[in-house]
């Protein structure tokens, strides 16, 4: 799988995770699925509970589909820094790809 394909794969996993979260949210609070969406931060779209759900979903799907164990919950502290991996969906995608590469 080349980089672009990998990027697409991870983005698709994240978007499916967001779909699952949106099932629980009022329409007005739906998390929009685009690269610029800020997940965590001053304009963050996601609350702590749903963030946990998203991270666990991505964790499980990467393990299932790519056979890579990420343990994102153990990385949470690193991810919550300012302008960190959760500052946008595109950053999050890059971060996951980096972790997979490691």
């Amino acid at each position: 799988m080349n980089h672009a394909q990998m990027e697409e794969k991870i983005r698709s996993i994240i978007y499916t995770g967001i779909d699952a979260i949106n099932e629980e949210l009022p329409v007005s609070s739906h998390i929009s699925k685009n690269d610029e969406t800020v997940l965590v931060g001053s304009n963050g779209a996601i609350d702590s509970l749903h963030l946990i759900n998203l991270l666990i979903y991505v964790d499980d799907m990467v393990a299932e589909q790519l056979n890579v164990s990420l343990s994102l919950m153990n990385e949470l502290e690193n991810m919550l820094v300012e302008n960190g991996p959760l500052s946008s969906i595109s950053q999050f995608v890059s971060y996951i790809i980096r972790l997979i590469g490691d």
Binding site: A20, E23, D59
Partner: protein
């Protein structure tokens, strides 16, 4: 006008926010608005609710807990300590008391059963032994809790094991537990939403009452018109044959709890009825169906005609047909009719039927069990009607009896069911739980009569309710509900006459009925217009002055009054 939302309060010792969100977003009626109690504050929350006035509380509660948390003795057993059974059951009883204490403060309480993760093997071989087993103890705890909670008619102990079973090994996720104290995954919560919404729908009278079935390749395999009844696939040592029999058995079970069955099929009537009567492996016989339209006409037309003849609304109907064209045609013509997608393979028919969550009932009454027989009596009654010259003449031949009685322990469930299920002949269409009705009746100067109708063709059961609220010199009719089964036979007039004679005895001079229109209760308006009451405010308010006029009981009905 947007549908008002049923207010549910979720109380749990684990993170249950996802269930709340899924319930809020589920678009099936009735709509729900949830609030979540403080995390892990089950007992303090129940104590607070018990101390608050009824009207200030939410309408319903979901109390979903983990056994090891709520029953510490079970927690001890789980971690290998020696515990006496009676200590565990004492704690279960104490927990039940907390729930029972809030029962009168809300309309309904759902309590999912206690479970353990499927991955937990407990004591292995010894897990189901009475003296040591964790599995055995959990079953015993659930049984005890179910028994204790059954004291209250508005508490529903529901099977969470089924939800977990439906989801399988993805029902729990240790990551969600350790990171967010979520005891179950969303897949389990989605199953819970289906059952909870089905229960709420039943409470509010949205459950379906009639299943209309096709015949060929639906009740049996093959086309009876081509192969004859001896040639259809049904029973025998044949996978599909056995599956059709099991499907019919489940339909019969539904019929036995009050769901009506009918047939709409493109066939020769005689050929089809011969199959139903004569095939040795048919589970369903002609007497199991309240009516049928077996002909070559358009199925949508036949359904409309059949439903009208039963005095039901299309929103009460489920239509099952193996043919996607017929399903599409009916779905398009009558969006109110539930037309489930149907599997191609008959081996999945039973599962598809069991998967429909639209037949839930809040109670099973004698009327439910006898419902099909009552409709058969109605058919014979109708036949006799066509053979008589005038309506009055026909009514006089029926030898009708109406027993009027107050609400009591024997009829309470049926009264609540009738109030919540009746759409057409219903003055105010107010929906009430048993607790609400009890509270309403015991407050102020109010009265309610239940009406039990029978005639020479059979017993129609408790099929009418009328209630009044007396203020000063005026009695306002609040509920005026008559089942479509006994409609237009003098039952409505008898009930109005009862109210007016009661008011005359009490020297109450005015009786008033306010008609609250819905999409379905126009028949009630027609009754009020023909009742002799004086209509004001554009047929919304109907008045009767008892000073100037009594109301005559219909001559063809024998009235029996019970004073209990």
């Amino acid at each position: 006008m947007s549908e008002s939302r049923f207010k549910l309060f979720l109380i749990s010792d684990f993170t249950i926010n996802s269930l709340g969100g899924l319930l809020n977003n589920d678009q099936q009626s009735p709509l729900v608005e949830t609030k979540i109690a403080g995390f892990d504050r089950v007992i303090p929350t129940l104590l607070e609710l018990a101390s608050v006035e009824r009207g200030l509380n939410p309408e319903g509660l979901i109390i979903w807990t983990r056994p090891e948390k709520m029953i510490p003795a079970f927690g001890n057993l789980l971690y290998g300590k020696s515990v006496v059974d009676s200590d565990i059951l004492k704690e279960v009883d104490a927990f039940a008391e907390y729930i029972l204490a809030v029962q009168k403060k809300v309309n309904v309480i759902f309590v999912p059963s206690w479970t353990q993760p499927d991955t937990r093997r407990g004591m292995g071989l010894l897990d189901m032994r009475p003296d040591t087993g964790i599995g055995y103890t959990l079953l015993n705890m659930n049984l005890r809790l179910a028994q204790r909670l059954s004291q209250a008619n508005n508490i529903y102990f529901i099977d969470a094991r089924r939800w977990i079973g439906m989801v399988g090994n993805k029902a729990t996720n240790p990551k969600q537990w350790y990171a967010g104290k979520m005891a179950f995954t969303n897949a389990v919560f989605k199953e819970a939403v289906r059952d909870i919404k089905a229960g709420l729908a039943a409470m509010q009278g949205f459950s379906r009452k009639l299943i209309i079935l096709d015949l060929d390749n639906t009740l049996w395999g093959g086309v009876v018109g081509e192969v004859g009844w001896q040639g259809v696939v049904l029973g025998g040592h044949h996978p599909a044959g056995e599956a059709f029999v099991d499907f019919q058995r489940m339909l019969k079970a539904l019929k036995n709890r009050g769901i009506l069955l009918a047939i709409v099929s493109k066939n020769e009537e005689l050929t089809a009825l011969n199959a139903i009567r004569n095939h040795p492996e048919m589970v369903l016989r002609p007497e199991d169906f309240v009516d049928w339209r077996i002909n070559w006409s358009d199925k949508a037309e036949n359904i409309k005609n059949l439903v009208q003849s039963l005095n039901l609304g299309l929103q009460s109907v489920v239509f099952i047909d193996d043919n996607p064209f017929e399903r599409g045609r009916v779905r398009e013509t009558f969006p109110e009719v539930l037309v489930p997608e149907w599997p191609d393979d008959p081996l999945h028919y039973l599962q598809a039927l069991e998967d429909l969550n639209c037949f839930d009932q809040i109670a099973l009454t004698a009327e439910d069990v006898e419902r099909s027989a009552m409709y058969h009596a109605e058919k014979i009654r109708d036949l006799s009607k066509t053979q008589t010259e005038s309506l009055d003449e026909w009514l006089a031949t029926l030898q009708m009896k109406i027993t009027l009685e107050k609400m009591n322990d024997n009829n309470r469930k049926r009264i609540v069911q009738l109030i919540n299920k009746t759409n057409q002949m219903n003055l105010s269409t107010r929906r009430m739980t048993e607790a609400e009705l009890n509270a309403w009746l015991s407050d102020g100067d109010r009265a309610l009569w239940a009406c039990h109708v029978s005639d020479k063709y059979g017993d129609s059961g408790l099929t009418g309710i009328i209630s009044i609220d007396i203020k000063d010199d005026c009695a306002k009719i609040i509920d005026f509900v008559v089942s479509c089964r006994v409609f237009k036979r003098g039952v409505e007039e008898t009930m109005l006459a009862k109210v007016i004679s009661y008011c005359m005895e009490k020297r109450i001079t005015c009786v008033q009925a306010e008609y609250l229109p819905t999409e379905k209760n126009k028949p009630c308006l027609d009754v009020m217009r023909g009742s002799g009451f004086h209509a004001i405010k554009e047929d919304r308010i109907f008045m009767w002055n008892t000073k100037t006029q009594s109301y005559t009981f219909p001559a063809h009905i024998q009235i029996i009054e019970k004073y209990i």
